[in-house]
Symmetry: C2
Subunit: 325 residues, 2 copies
């Protein structure tokens, strides 16, 4: 069964949603609309995230409790990327007939509630229905910030930074889809992503952060999203990218490819002016790595270790790659 | 194919969600949590509503544009039932591989946007993914009110009122599922529900409304939900129930059954003290009918035209009726 998780392709979810939803026609009640991680209404940020069985996960990869927890963590990651404090989570479930509905809902709910509580949010409602097909979960995350960090406000000359290490979640998926089992450490990268939910708020106090988003579609793809939203060109230096040490068992080329193109790590990618380097390079609880910069222009360029520059087309997870055009 | 739409059963979605989500553990940031139409955070109401192909609709019943519009209208109905002003709608779509993804998303988005705009709300974001099974749409509706109307605050002795006429949407579904075509009027009851989104705010200015919800699962079932949330017993007088005139072609018994037990009409059911009768009975743009009352106790009782009282068990749409226990 095609999972889509490692499929690469041009275009991508983000651009399609923008095309679908268009721009907000000047509604003064809505500070930020389509195209960012969440909508901003007053001082609240609202984001919605769909998780679909056999697209985003498979039952033999993780337990229902892990599915619920992961769905919530991934949704909260959108809030973290806007610098918002998590408040509430709403969980909508469509449960297949083959499941014992109440048991499945309870397991998913347990995982969801635990993930919400770890982040300081409360599971505050939802919806529940049956599904004649796969299990689907939609998580609405609601957070608060008086000053959201957007994707669209980076400036030419800014550095690009990424938190944590990359490629682990995609490595686990690649193991599963090629018929092997990932190591327990690699498996956890997928089943229990750990987005730095409070980091952006902390960093902003000591450095000017100009723009941010979470790395869900892959570093190159998401660098492209940030650059496109800001009307800039992203330049990512391959040798700087923090490859997940849990990928050590595979060759360097494969590990680097996963770190550049694999999605689902839910680390932060953010832009900051050059003069913030010294404060961002100071020791921190979470690893922060400078991986590139933003320039006038458009698109994404990857700088190979030998200095060669390669234009990137797509490069990341496209939910519709391979489906009808 | 079983659609579930006309299935009746004990229990019901509402009670299961409460069991799943439990109560909010005293989070002061959340004024209203699980169990009402939406969560209330500050002065914002957030609700989430799943629409699943072959559970909530079938492709041969309505166009994708109508699916998008209906999903949004149904979600906004939750806001209307809390007396909130609609602000924003977020639309998450899982699109089957057999659809041409962008065309389907565009049609769903067009319908969703038009429905949002009719209600004074803006389509402000969403999510998009593929589905290996049915089409699913989750709509997040965000509204504002400083004083939400809840389900749980009715008082013994209050009257029960309902807006509009009932049974039409279920009549359309019954026609389709028994192999005939509903009349155009009846079809519209299902494809274009018209919840009175602003009425509750208007009525509150001239009468004390103590509690409300929208009639999604059927009048008897939703009277039960309001009564249960308020710790009361609902008494519904069959002869008072406003049966949809579009059901005139069928026998009176069937039409009354659909008006009592059919769901999906998205009219308002609300409670008000007896001394509000004269002001509520004054002529209004929207028909308002007194259908019963709330008493000490629990459960729902239906009063037959001959005065006989019948205890109601279930009586409404249960998404899981017939599935594994």
């Amino acid at each position: 069964m095609r999972t889509g998780l490692t499929a690469m392709g041009a275009g991508g979810e983000f651009d399609r949603i923008r095309a679908l939803l268009g721009s907000v026609p000047g509604d003064p009640r809505i500070r930020v609309g389509p195209g960012d991680d969440g909508a901003v209404i007053g001082d609240l940020v609202v984001s919605t995230d769909l998780t679909v069985e056999d697209v985003h996960f498979r039952r033999d990869w993780l337990t229902l409790e892990e599915v619920g927890g992961r769905a919530v963590t991934v949704a909260l990651s959108d809030l973290g990327a806007m610098g918002a404090e998590p408040i509430a989570v709403l969980l909508s479930l469509a449960l297949p007939d083959r499941d014992r509905a109440l048991e499945a809902a309870a397991a998913l709910g347990r995982g969801a509630r635990a993930a919400a509580e770890r982040a300081g949010a409360t599971l505050a409602g939802g919806d529940l229905t049956r599904s004649p097909g796969p299990l689907m979960a939609d998580v609405v995350a609601v957070g608060r910030t008086s000053d959201p960090v957007l994707r669209s406000t980076a400036r030419a000359g800014d550095d690009l930074w990424v938190t944590g290490v990359l490629g682990g979640a995609a490595g686990a998926v690649e193991a599963w889809t090629t018929g092997s089992d990932p190591s327990p450490e690699l498996r956890r990268r997928f089943t229990e992503p750990s987005p730095p939910l409070t980091l952006l708020r902390t960093l902003r106090a000591r450095a000017g952060i100009t723009a941010a988003l979470d790395v869900s579609d892959g570093l190159l793809a998401d660098a492209g999203h940030l650059a496109a939203a800001s009307g800039l060109r992203a330049r990512v230096e391959t040798r700087r990218v923090p490859v997940d040490p849990a990928l050590a068992a595979m060759g360097e080329a494969d590990a680097t490819r996963l770190a550049l193109e694999g999605g689902e790590d839910y680390q932060l990618l953010f832009a900051a002016p050059r003069d913030a380097r010294s404060s961002l390079e100071a020791p921190a609880v979470v690893r922060i790595t400078r991986v590139g910069e933003l320039l006038p222009g458009r698109g994404v360029v990857r700088v190979e270790p030998d200095g060669r520059e390669v234009d990137v087309r797509g490069g990341g997870f496209d939910h519709f790659a391979g489906s009808a055009p």
